[in-house]
């Protein structure tokens, strides 16, 4: 068994009096793809935002390689090697594709030539549109840019919040292929999805989050076979 890189323990987060996350615990093992599925408002995004330092949890701990992340500013967390691809892509529309990638490497001081090439190799479409404003890209291209931008920070753990949201089925397949490619290159992935089928097929391990609590935790494909999960998230009735 590989080492646990990210260890979330008894995490409680509340937004203006409402508890969004109620004591969840998640382990992410090095080099794996772990997914967190669940319906809207289950607390998935809040969990990832807490790891990224955008949200201050009420209690609990988030340890990355033994280092406590709660209380660190977002830039310290990026420096530690943890990066979040936010929901809705959030590329900078007024910046060119290349400038967006440059922003991804904001904290780095070394040479970026090889990194631009790596991203352009993964997403040749971005190379073609290098000088185009990100706001003019299609949804799929923006998602590719968001992932490429995150890779520019040279992360060890990449968190993705709903990468398939609002994309055409073929594009979704591309995105999941890329997730696998990135993972094979040695990057650990923590993935949030409403598209449970794709997520479970891709992930090594899966957690199901319902109204702020973990209700299931099993291997991805295993969970895919589970009847209750099928009913709740995959829209299939009991066979």
């Amino acid at each position: 068994m590989s080492d646990t890189v990210l260890e979330i323990k008894d995490l409680y987060v509340s937004y203006g009096g409402i508890e969004a996350v109620k004591g969840i615990s998640i382990d992410v093992h090095e080099g794996k793809i772990v997914t967190l599925i669940g319906s809207n408002g289950a607390g998935k995004s809040t969990t990832l935002k807490s790891v990224a330092g955008l949200v201050k949890p009420k209690s609990g701990s988030i340890k990355y390689k033994g280092q406590e992340l709660i209380g660190l500013s977002p830039d310290k967390i990026v420096s530690a090697g943890v990066v979040l691809v936010p929901e809705g892509r959030r590329v900078f529309p007024n910046l060119t594709v290349k400038e967006n990638l440059r922003m991804g490497a904001y904290l780095r001081k070394d040479d970026l030539t090889a990194d631009y090439e790596y991203v352009y190799e993964l997403f040749p479409r971005l190379k073609e549109r290098e000088w185009q404003l990100a706001g003019t890209l299609s949804g799929g291209e923006q998602q590719m840019l968001a992932v490429g931008r995150a890779l520019m920070s040279k992360p060890e753990l990449i968190m993705m919040d709903e990468p398939s949201l609002g994309l055409a089925p073929l594009v979704v397949q591309d995105i999941f292929k890329i997730i696998k490619t990135i993972n094979k290159a040695g990057i650990t992935v923590l993935l949030i999805e409403q598209n449970a089928f794709m997520a479970l097929e891709t992930a090594d391990w899966a957690y199901v989050l319902e109204t702020g609590e973990i209700t299931h935790s099993r291997e991805g494909l295993d969970l895919l076979e589970d009847n209750t999960i099928q009913e709740a998230y995959l829209g299939k009735s009991k066979a």
Partner: protein, 291 residues
């Protein structure tokens, strides 16, 4: 003809001085969506600093020192009066800015005792020269040239440096910029530093032409520069510069006619017309909030 030449020349010069103030308004608005009402008063404080310092030290020391102190003032104002309100409603920050504006005016009133202070005569730029036969001062010619140089440098900074790219990113999306590792507060401080630096340079040129400083000296130029920024499309730097030149030239031309009394009224009538007809200004983005 000579009269007209001289009017246009001083109009361009005045426009350049407004432009240096207007850039500060437009940059701060671009990043914080805040109309920094204290900006004009910082400009006035820069004038007073120069008045006091030039009596005790040589000009070549007091000019850089005045610029450094003004920039420091801009930095401190942001940290003390705006930063603590970062997550407060935008209106609170705006009211805080109005508070800072009156605070500076009153401090200036206390310091000067309400007496107009005579601005130092800065060598060389106060000299008289003749352009196309029209007598004018060196500052009139120096201002537009200096403005163009500073605007080109600023544009290079914003388009090609890391901090410039970060400024543009932060102006669109705070949260995602943080995810890139950007320290939002440093970028905002940098914006205020640049804005107040330009206002300090502007004060040097402006008070050479209007050689007394009173606590209200920043109010009217500040407001006009603000109108220029709205006219050009608030948030846009080229817009602010072009707006400022147009307002400066129009104001000076009107001053040369029988309607001289209305030159200020013209500027503010223009503000109303823009807000009614094209609220986003010349270069404003369609998505920007109305001012």
């Amino acid at each position: 003809m000579e009269f007209l030449t001289s009017q246009i020349l001083s109009g361009i010069s005045l426009g350049g001085q407004y432009a240096l103030i207007a850039i500060g308004y437009t940059m701060v608005y671009g990043i914080l969506r805040l109309i920094n009402f204290a900006h004009g008063d910082v400009f006035m404080v820069a004038g007073l600093l120069m008045v006091y310092m030039s009596t005790v030290m040589p000009i070549y020391v007091s000019i850089p020192l005045m610029i450094v102190l003004t920039v420091l003032l801009g930095f401190v104002i942001e940290r003390a009066a705006y930063k603590p309100l970062r997550s407060a409603p935008r209106m609170s920050v705006m009211i805080s800015a109005i508070g800072v504006s009156y605070l500076l005016q009153n401090l200036a009133l206390y310091a000067t005792g309400g007496q107009p202070k005579t601005y130092a005569s800065i060598p060389w730029i106060s000299n008289t020269i003749h352009i196309f036969g029209a007598p004018t001062r060196v500052v009139t010619v120096v201002t537009p040239i200096l403005v163009i140089i500073l605007v080109v440098l600023l544009t290079l900074l914003i388009n090609h440096t890391k901090i410039g790219i970060a400024m543009r990113a932060v102006s669109k999306d705070f949260e995602t910029s943080q995810l890139m590792g950007v320290k939002i507060n440093s970028v905002i401080s940098a914006t205020f530093v640049i804005g107040t630096f330009l206002a300090a340079v502007g004060s040097l040129l402006y008070f050479t032409n209007y050689p007394t400083v009173v606590p209200m000296s920043g109010a009217l130029p500040g407001l006009k520069a603000f109108v220029a920024a709205v006219f050009g499309g608030i948030g846009s730097i080229p817009g602010a510069v072009i707006g400022a030149f147009i307002i400066g030239i129009c104001e000076t031309l009107i001053k040369g006619t029988d309607f001289a009394v209305f030159s200020d009224a013209f500027t503010f009538a223009l503000l109303i017309i823009i807000l009614v007809v094209k609220p986003t200004g010349i270069f404003g983005e369609k998505t920007t909030d109305k001012v």
